[in-house]
Symmetry: C2
Subunit: 434 residues, 2 copies
C-alpha cells in the first residue's frame, strides 16, 4: 500500500519542520518527505490542509495492565498507595484481567498518537498478544524480583517466564515485539540475582528496563544498604544498567540522581525514562532534567502506569515536561520546546532500540500522527513545537499510523473493537471498585 500525505505542516523532528509539505509511505516505510509533491501513483492521497503531521510517540515506561486501577487510592503517597491499594489489587489479577487492562491502555495510547510502549509487568504473554492483534509495538519485560542474597535465576519461575517470553516472541510481528529483560529495582533485588539476570541479558543481546531512584527514601536507603553505592552505581556494578552489545538500557524515573550518577548514565548510553506526571502525582519530586541534558544523558518520556498518572497520554507528559522545568528553574529558555518533542519521539525510539523510528525521513518506519490544527485550541499555530507542547489536546489526533498501517482515523479504531472492550472491562472493574 502506498499513501501520500500532502498539504501538511510537517514536523520532521524537534528542529526541522515544513509549513506546507508532503510525505509518502510505501508499505512499512517512509519513502519521501519534502515541499514538492513526489512523482508516482499512490493507492491513497490524504489532503492534510489544516493538519500537522508528526512522528508518533514512544512511551518508554509503562505498566499497561494497571489501567484497571486508574484512580485507585487517589491522594496517597507512594508507599501507602502501593501497600494499601495496589498490591492487594494486583493479588486479584489473572491473565484475562491483564489482557483487558493492557488493551484499555493500548486503546488509550493509539487514540493519543502513541505507537509503541515499554512495559514491565507480569502475565506478559497476554499483553504481547493484545499488542500483536492491534498492530502496535511493544518492548515488554517480565518484572523480576529477588528477596534473598541467595536468590538465583535457576528454578526461579519468574525468570523462566522471562526466558520463555523472549524465546517465543522476541522480534515477532516484523520486529514490532521486542522482549526486554527487567529487574524491578535495586530495593526489590539482591546483587547475585541481578548479576545472573545481567549475564543472561548480555548473552542474548536483549534490552534492560529498571526503576531507578524514584523516591529520595529509595535512593538514600540504597546507599545505606550498599556501602554508599547509589542505585545507579549498584545497577552498573551488577551489570543491569550496562547495555548489551546492540541493546539498550532504560532507567525509569531518576528523580534523585547525583551528578555522578548522571555522568555514569551518559557514559554508559543509558536512557532515562522521564515520567513527570507520575513523579508529581505520587509526590516523588521533580527530576533534574536540565542537568541530565547538560551532562549528555539520553532522555525519553514515559507515562508510568495509569494507576499513578492517571492517563496514558504521551502528549500530557510532553506538555508537563515542557512546562515544569521552566517553572522550577525560573528560566523560560531552560530547554528548547523542540528538544522536549524529540524526547517523546526519537528519544523514546532510541531507548527501545528502534533506530529506524521517530523521525519523518526517507527510509524510516512510517510511525506517523496527524493533528487537527483547525481545532479551536490550535488557532493560530506559530510553529509546531509550541502547538504540541502548549496548545494541543489529547483529542486532536485524527490519525495514528504504525509501520505504515493506520490504527486509528477520524474517530474509528481500525484494529480494535472498542465497544467490545468496554463491555469486557465492565465486570472486571466491578471487582476493584466495589
Amino acid at each position: 500500500m502506498t499513501i501520500l500525505f500532502k498539504n501538511a505542516a510537517v514536523m520532521i523532528d524537534g528542529s526541522r519542520w515544513l509549513a506546507n509539505g508532503c510525505a509518502a509511505v510505501d508499505g512499512t516505510k517512509i519513502t519521501y518527505v519534502g515541499e514538492s509533491i513526489p512523482e508516482g501513483r499512490f493507492d491513497r492521497v490524504i489532503d492534510c490542509a489544516g493538519k500537522l503531521l508528526t512522528p508518533a510517540f514512544y512511551n518508554i515506561h509503562c505498566h499497561s495492565a494497571m489501567t484497571l486501577f486508574r484512580g485507585l487510592g487517589g491522594d496517597l503517597p507512594l508507599q501507602r498507595w502501593l501497600n494499601e491499594k495496589i498490591y492487594p489489587a494486583e493479588d486479584r489479577l489473572n491473565p484475562e484481567r491483564v489482557r483487558i487492562g493492557s488493551t484499555l491502555a493500548i486503546a488509550e495510547m493509539i487514540r493519543g498518537g502513541t505507537v509503541s510502549f515499554s512495559d514491565m509487568y507480569f502475565f506478559c504473554d497476554e499483553t504481547v498478544k493484545a499488542v500483536l492483534d492491534t498492530g502496535m509495538k511493544v518492548n515488554i519485560s517480565r518484572c523480576l524480583l529477588s528477596f534473598s542474597e541467595d536468590s538465583t535465576v535457576k528454578g526461579d519461575s519468574r525468570f523462566d517466564e522471562a526466558v520463555e517470553l523472549a524465546k517465543t516472541y522476541h522480534n515477532a510481528g516484523d520486529g514490532r515485539m521486542k522482549i526486554d529483560m527487567s529487574v524491578h529495582a535495586e530495593y526489590t533485588n539482591k546483587a547475585r540475582y541481578c548479576r545472573e539476570v545481567a549475564d543472561y541479558t548480555h548473552a542474548h543481546d536483549l534490552n534492560m528496563q529498571v526503576h531507578v531512584s524514584e523516591t529520595l527514601d529509595e535512593h538514600e536507603e540504597c546507599k545505606a544498604r550498599n556501602h554508599g553505592m547509589t542505585p545507579v552505581e549498584f545497577l552498573l556494578d551488577t551489570g543491569i544498567l550496562v547495555p548489551s552489545a546492540t541493546g539498550t538500557a532504560t532507567a525509569a524515573h531518576c528523580v534523585w540522581l547525583s551528578e555522578g550518577d548522571m555522568e555514569l548514565l551518559a557514559e554508559n548510553r543509558v536512557t532515562v525514562a522521564h515520567n513527570p506526571v507520575s513523579n508529581l502525582k505520587l509526590a516523588s519530586g521533580v527530576a533534574n532534567l536540565p542537568l541530565m541534558l547538560k551532562k549528555g544523558v539520553r532522555v525519553g518520556l514515559g507515562t508510568d502506569g495509569a494507576a499513578s498518572n492517571n492517563a496514558q497520554s504521551m502528549l500530557r507528559e510532553l506538555q508537563t515536561a515542557a512546562l515544569i522545568h521552566k517553572g522550577v528553574t525560573r528560566r523560560a529558555d531552560i530547554i528548547p520546546t523542540g528538544t522536549i518533542c524529540d524526547m517523546a519521539m526519537s528519544g523514546g525510539a532510541i531507548a527501545q532500540g528502534r533506530h529506524d523510528c521517530g523521525v519523518i525521513e526517507e527510509g524510516k518506519r512510517a510511525d506517523l500522527v496527524l493533528w487537527d490544527l483547525d481545532a479551536i485550541n490550535n488557532i493560530p499555530m506559530a510553529e509546531p513545537y509550541s502547538t504540541l507542547a502548549y496548545s494541543a489536546a489529547y483529542g486532536d489526533v485524527t490519525m495514528t499510523m504504525c509501520d505504515g498501517k493506520i490504527l486509528y482515523e477520524n474517530g474509528e479504531y481500525k484494529t480494535l473493537d472498542v465497544e467490545r472492550l468496554r463491555a469486557e472491562a465492565k465486570p472486571i472493574l466491578a471487582h476493584y471498585f466495589d
Copy 2:
C-alpha cells in the same frame, strides 16, 4: 424550557457526589438535584448514562483577545516576551481584531466547559458584545495604567472608557455581564491614581482585578520603590485590593507573596487567581498554594491569556494545580483533589461575585457541563475528582450550559458560527505570523 438530566454521575461540588443521580433545570435555574427522578414533565430529558455532570468552570484571569498571539515568542522569559513580542503586536490591534481574538478564546472556553471569565484588556466593548452574543458570562475590566505621580483619572481616556463601559453594560444580559475595574499592577501605576480608581470602584460598588507579585523582580522592586511595602500592601494601602460593599477583589498570580501578604489577603476576603500554567510557562515560579489555603485565602483558577499559556483550558489549569503542588512539596495529600475542583468552580464564581453559581444545588444558576466517562481515557472512574484532575481530556466535554442555555453539545456550537470565525481569523493572523 425545562430539562431533566438523568442517570448521571453528579459532582455536586468538591466534596459531594452521586454515583447515579438526576438534576432538573427550569429556565436559568437548577430546580432539583438528587438520586430519584423528580416528578413533573420536562421539555427535554437527557439520558446521561456514561456521563458525568459537573458545575461549569469560572476562569478568573484572562486576556481573551490575546488568543491572536498564541505561540508568539515561544521560550522567552516574561520581560523579553512582553517587550520584544507582545507590546509590538498589541500596537497593531484594533476593535475588529480584538473582537475576533476574544471570540477565538470564547469558542475555546465554551468547548472546554468554561461559562464565565474575568477579562482585563482594552477595546472591551468588542469583547462584551461577543460574550453577549454567545451567551457566556464575563467580568470585564478596562485595564488602567498611570505613569506619573501626578496622573489623575480626570481627563484620562482609559478611565473614561472604563466608566462608560460600566454605565453601558454593567449587569446587562440578566447579570451575565459584570463590568469590573482594574489597574494593571503596582509596577505600572502610581499611588494617587490608584486611590482615585479605588474611590470610584467603592462608590459604584464594583469588583476589582489586578496583577500581584507575578515575578520575584516585580515583588522586590515594589518594596524598593515603596519604603518596603509589598505589592499587596501597596494595593491595600491605596484601596485597590479593598473590596467594595458587595463587591470582590481578585489578585492575579501571587507567586511571590510573603506570609504576611497571605494573611492580609485572607483578612480582606481577596481571591487569588492561581494561574499555574502561565506561571510555569513564563518561568515566574510556583505559587505557594498550600500555605495560602492554610492561611484561609480564597483561591480560584485562571488561564491568563493564550499568549502565555498557550490554551484557554480550565481543565488544564485544574490538572496542573492538582499535580504540581504534590510534586513541589513532596506530599501526595497536600491538597485534596476535590478542593482543587472547587477552586475552578465555586471558588471562581465567588471571585466574580456570582454567589448563585458554581455548585449543583436547587436555586443556583444552571451552569453545567457533561463529561464523557465512556471516553477511553476515563475508564474506569474511581470517583469524579480524580477523573477530572488526572484522566479527563479537553475534548471530553459533550455539553456546556450557561444559565440554562446550551452553548455547546456533541460537537456543535449553538450560539457561535465557528466556521465563520476561522475564516475571519485567518487574514488577521497573517499580520502577526508573517
